[in-house]
Symmetry: D2
Subunit: 360 residues, 4 copies
Amino acid sequence: MGNTIGKIFRVTTFGESHGMGIGVVIDGCPPNLSLNLEKISYELMRRRPGQSKLTTQRKEMESFQILSGWFEEKTTGTPLTFWIENQDAKSKDYEHLKTAYRPSHADFTYHQKYKNYDYRGGGRSSARETAARVIAGAVAKQILDLYNIQIFAWVSQVGKIHCNKSFENIDFTLIEENSVRCPEPEVAKLMEEEILKVKKNGDTVGGVISAVILNVPVGLGEPVFDRLSADLAKAMLSINATKGFEYGSGFRCAEMHGSEHNDIFYQKNNQIFTKTNHSGGIQGGISNGMPIEFRVAFKPVATILKKQESIDFDGNQVIIEGRGRHDPCVVPRAVPIVEAMAAITILDHLFRFKAISVKK
Amino acid sequence: MGNTIGKIFRVTTFGESHGMGIGVVIDGCPPNLSLNLEKISYELMRRRPGQSKLTTQRKEMESFQILSGWFEEKTTGTPLTFWIENQDAKSKDYEHLKTAYRPSHADFTYHQKYKNYDYRGGGRSSARETAARVIAGAVAKQILDLYNIQIFAWVSQVGKIHCNKSFENIDFTLIEENSVRCPEPEVAKLMEEEILKVKKNGDTVGGVISAVILNVPVGLGEPVFDRLSADLAKAMLSINATKGFEYGSGFRCAEMHGSEHNDIFYQKNNQIFTKTNHSGGIQGGISNGMPIEFRVAFKPVATILKKQESIDFDGNQVIIEGRGRHDPCVVPRAVPIVEAMAAITILDHLFRFKAISVKK
Amino acid sequence: MGNTIGKIFRVTTFGESHGMGIGVVIDGCPPNLSLNLEKISYELMRRRPGQSKLTTQRKEMESFQILSGWFEEKTTGTPLTFWIENQDAKSKDYEHLKTAYRPSHADFTYHQKYKNYDYRGGGRSSARETAARVIAGAVAKQILDLYNIQIFAWVSQVGKIHCNKSFENIDFTLIEENSVRCPEPEVAKLMEEEILKVKKNGDTVGGVISAVILNVPVGLGEPVFDRLSADLAKAMLSINATKGFEYGSGFRCAEMHGSEHNDIFYQKNNQIFTKTNHSGGIQGGISNGMPIEFRVAFKPVATILKKQESIDFDGNQVIIEGRGRHDPCVVPRAVPIVEAMAAITILDHLFRFKAISVKK
Amino acid sequence: MGNTIGKIFRVTTFGESHGMGIGVVIDGCPPNLSLNLEKISYELMRRRPGQSKLTTQRKEMESFQILSGWFEEKTTGTPLTFWIENQDAKSKDYEHLKTAYRPSHADFTYHQKYKNYDYRGGGRSSARETAARVIAGAVAKQILDLYNIQIFAWVSQVGKIHCNKSFENIDFTLIEENSVRCPEPEVAKLMEEEILKVKKNGDTVGGVISAVILNVPVGLGEPVFDRLSADLAKAMLSINATKGFEYGSGFRCAEMHGSEHNDIFYQKNNQIFTKTNHSGGIQGGISNGMPIEFRVAFKPVATILKKQESIDFDGNQVIIEGRGRHDPCVVPRAVPIVEAMAAITILDHLFRFKAISVKK
C-alpha cells in the first residue's frame, strides 16, 4: 500500500531495483501538453548514479519509454505512464548479503514486514524507485512552468561543511557546475574533498539539501491537515534516507522571540511582501506569495565498505562487509528528487485550488 | 478541503475558533470499545488554555458532547462524533484587527485564499481546532493501549534552554508535574522563568517538543510514499506553529559518518534490537520495533503585545498592537496535540497492516 | 467506514436515527456563497415523514443548525457542517423488537457486522440518515444553479401503476402538487389509491423514481472507473431500499439492436444534439450534453404491520409484528434524496473537471 | 482522473487500445501469494476477441508480462504490475472515421472532453482496457479462493431470448461449454442463432449478464455510502456498454408488496438463512451470508456495419459505415469482466472488514 501520492495530480510508482524495471503512472495530468522529453531525460540524468567520482558507479542508463497517455507528441489526459527497464543490475554484489541484515538499511524491516526478501537489492526501498518520481516531477515542473512557478534545490551541507548563502545570493546556474551540486564553488570544492576522503575510508557521510520554490501564488494549501507545509514535509520525508524537514526559520525558530521572528508586511507595486521570510513562504499552512524555502536532512548512506557486526536471518551474530557500488554521500544525487517531490506537491495543490474556484 | 487525515482510521475536524464550536468525526473506529471518557477529558484539559501563568487565560471549558457513534457506553462502529461548544469567545479583543493583517499570522493567507475573513478570530487556522484532534487522539490512544503501544511527548527546548535527556532516562510521570511539561524539574524551572520573562516583555518565544512511541510492532509503514516517517512528518507539520520535524538522529545526521550512524543489530530473548537508535525506530519508512523518537519545532507565537508595523486590507501601512489572551510560548500546551497526532498516525498504519494480512 | 462520498466536494454524514441527531460535514464547498437556507429547509421538508396520509406520521421537525463554515450569511470555504437534532423519537415502538430480527431489514446484518444493536431504531441504516444527504444535496443544487444545471426527480411507478411520460412532456411544477410526487395527476391519483389500499392491509409496496439532469456540460465523467454513470449508480444504490439503477435505455437495451439504439448526432445552432437519447446523456462514461436520464428501483418497505415469522438473537423461531410509524411506500419521500445524491455526484465531477483544465 | 478503484485492494489501469499496450498496477496485494498465472491467462482468454464466430475476429494474443511485485513465483506485497503489449492493431480499419463521430460511441464525448482524439481506436474508452481489469480480477479471485468465496457470471439474456434459471439450478461447468456463455444449452443455441442473424444484418444486439457470489461472510459492506450494493453497482456500471444494474429482486421489486418481498429468516445447523433471497444477499448495504445475486444490462454494440447518419468534427452531416472487427453482441465476452469487477469489489470490502477488527 501507499504507492500513490497526490489527490488530483496522482502519482503511482511501481517496480523494484533489481526486477524488470521501474515505472510511474500519472493520473490527473491535463491533456494536450507538449511535454519536452529531453527535459525529463535531463532530470533523470541528474539523478543517475555514475555521474562523477562522488556517486556510485552503477550504470543506470535511464532511457525511458512512454507506455500510455501520449499521442502525437502530446499528453492525452489519460494515465501517463513511463517505464525504465533495469539494466546492468549486478545482483552478484549483493548475494553475500542473502541472509544477513545490513545495519540501518531497510533489509530488516522489509523482511519482517513482507516475510520475503529480494536479496538482489532493496526492492521498493531502493533509491532506484526515485527515478520514477523524478519523471513525474519533471512532468509536474513543465506544467508549473505554465504558471511561472520554479523550483531550485542545492546541497547546503555535507558533513560539517556548510553553504549558508540564502537563495537570493545564489546563482542557480552554478548548481550543476560541480559534482556536489553546491552553488558556492569554493564550498563545493571542500564538500567534494570531504566526500572523497570519506569514500577512501570506505565510509559515508550525511548532508542537507536546501530548496526554494518561486512564484507560488498566494492561497495554495489548506489550513488544517493538508497544510502546504505538511504536504511538503510528507513528500520530503518520503524520500529515502531523509531524517528531517524544516521550512523558513525551521528548528532555529525555537530560540527566537516573536518580535524578531515575525515577518513584517509591506506593499510595493500593489503586491504584498514581507520584509523577512522566517515563515518560509507559508503562513497557517497556506502560501503567502513569498518564496517557499525549506531544508531536508539526509543521513549517511547505510552501506559502508567496512566490516560491521550484524545478525543473520536466524539471529546469529555475524560480521558483514558492504561491497558493490554505493554512494559515499547521497545528497548530490538527491537534489533532483527533492525538486521532483516539491513539484508534485505544489502542482497537486494548484489543481485543488482551481477545482473549487467557482464563478458566481 | 484537506480537513480529513488517515486512510482507515479517518479523522475529520470542523468548526471555527469563534463560531459555534469545534467538532470531529472519526470514521473507521472499531465497534464495542468502552472508551474512558475521563481520559478524553484529561487530554483536553492538558491542551486547554488557562492552566497556568504560562498559558493564555482564555477559559476554554472543554466539556464535550458525543453526537454520534456511541450507545450504552460503547462505540457502535459508525462515525464517532464529538462536539465542543465554544464559550467565552471574547471577540471584542480581536475587533480592532478587523482590517489589518497581523505579521506572521494566518490572517493574510486565509483572507487571500478565501476572500473572506472572520475578524473574531482565526477561523480554522486557530489553534482551537486542535481540541478536536486531541479528542481523536485520545480515542486512538485507547485503542493503541489494547496493543500496548504508548506515546509520550514533552518540552525539550524553550528559547535557548534545553532538556537533553534521552527518553530512557526520563521519568514520564514528571512531565505533568510542572506547567511547562518538561520532565527535568530544574530545567523546567529555567524554562518557566524564561517564559515569564518573555511574557513580561509582551513578547513570545519558540520551543521544541520531543516524543517517543513505545512498543510499536515491526512492520508498520510502507516503503515508498506512505513511510511511517513521512506520515508522522505530515501529521506534525499539520499542527499550528510548527516549523520542523526530525526523527532519530534528525538534522544531526548530516554531520555524521555511516560508521557511527549505523545502528548495529543484536538479538536478545529471541527479539531483535539495535545498539543505538539513530534510526529513531524507523528504517526504510517501516517501524523496526525500536522506540520511535522524533522532535517538532514550534515558532514563537505570532501575536505579541508590542507595537508592530503592518498593513491594512487596503495595503496602507499601519501600526498594530496585539491585545487579548495569547500564549507567550505554545509548546507546553502543544504536548498533548503532538501525542494526539502521533496516535492517529500510528493507529491508522496499524489498521492498514491488519487489512492485508491474509490467511493462507 | 464508508461514510464519505465525493473526491473534491466531499460529503460525510454522521448520526443515528434514535441518537442525538444527524449531521453532515461538507468539505470542498467554495467560499462566499450566499446559500438560501430556506431552500435547504424546503428540501428537508420534502423528505420529511408525516407530509400526508401516504407517509409515516413520525414528526421529524427538521429545523437544522449550521455548526461551522458559515459566517455573515455566507460559506467560508471551510467545512460546512449541519446538524439536525432528533426529536420525538418514540423508541417504545421499537422496543419489542429488541431481540428479534425483522425480515429484510438491516437489523440482522447490522447486528452481525458490529456485534451491537441499537434496539431503538436502525442506527445508521435508518432512512433518517438521508436527511443529512438532502442538506448536502440542497447545497450542491445551489452551486449547480450557478452553472444552470437542474435536477428533477419524480415517482414513475408504484406497484403496477406506471407514469411513462418522458421528461419533455412533464410539467415539473406538477411534481409537488400531489402527495405521491407523480407529475401526471390522473396517474398520481391511482398511485395514491394503491398506497392507501396497501397501507390498509398493513402492507407496503415498491416503486420507481425517474430523474433527469438538465444542462450538464459535455465532458463530465471519466472513461474508466469513475464514469459518470458508475458514480451515479453508486450514489443511487447508496440510498436505502434501492435495488436497481438504469440510465437511458436501461435494461430495455438488452432487447434492442444497435441500429435502433444508436443515437444519431445532428447540429443545430452550433451545438451538437442526438435525435434520440438512449444513451441517457452519457456516452463512454462521459456526459454528452444531452439530458441525463436515469431510474432507480425501490423495494417495498420491510416493516409491515402484519405477523411474520422470524428468529430472535438466539436463533429461535418467533412471530413478530411491526408496529410504529412506517411508510407504506418509500418512493414519494425518496424523490428529494435521489435529487440530492444526483446533485452531489454531478457537482463533484464538475469540480474534478475544473481542477485540471490548464491554461497554456 | 478516475483510473483507480478500491480503497485497500487498489487497482489502477493504464494504456490505450491502439497504443503500446494495456497495464494494471495492483497496490494492496498481500505478500507471498503463489498466484497461478495460468488461471490469469485463462481469464484473459475468456475475455479475448476471436474466440468464436460470435465475437470480433481481432486477434488479441494476451500474453502478459509481470513488470513488478513478483519474485520467485510469489507476490512481494509491493505494487503488482501486469503489462499486455498491443499487437495486431489494424488501425487502418478505423482511419476513415478520423473526422466523424460514430453514433452512441464514446468518440464524441472523449473528443470534447480531452480536445484530442486517437483516431486509431477508442483510447481509454475501448473495451480493450478491460483486459487489465480481468487480470486484477483474476488475482482477486485467487485471494478470495483462500476464503472460499466464489463468483460465477453467465449470459441470461440476448435480445429477446432469456435464460431464467436461478443459479441453484445452474450447472456452472456448462457456462464455458458454448460460445455465448449461457449455462442452459438449448437457450444458448437460440442465443447463438440470434447473434449470427444480427451479425449477418451488420447489426448488433444487447444482452444481460447474471452473476452470483457464493460464501461471502456476513458483514461486508457499510451501511451508508459504501454499501456493498452501491460499490457493486459502481463496479458494474464502470464496465463499457453497461446501462443498468440490479440485485436480488431488482426492478421487479417495484411491483411487489412487502409481505411477499420480505425474506424470512430461519436457522439451520447454527447458521442463519433466509427462505427467499429477494435481498440478493445484501440487506442495508451489508452482506447477509446468502448468495449475492445481481444482473447487469449491456447495450447493443454501437459500431454497426450499416450506413448511419452522423456529423463530422465540423458539424457537417455525413454518412458513415462501420468497418473493422466488432462484436455483434458484447455479453459473451463481458462475462469474465463482470466476474473480475465483482472479485475486486468483494476483496476490497473483505480487507476493509479485516482492517478494523480489533482484539480486546
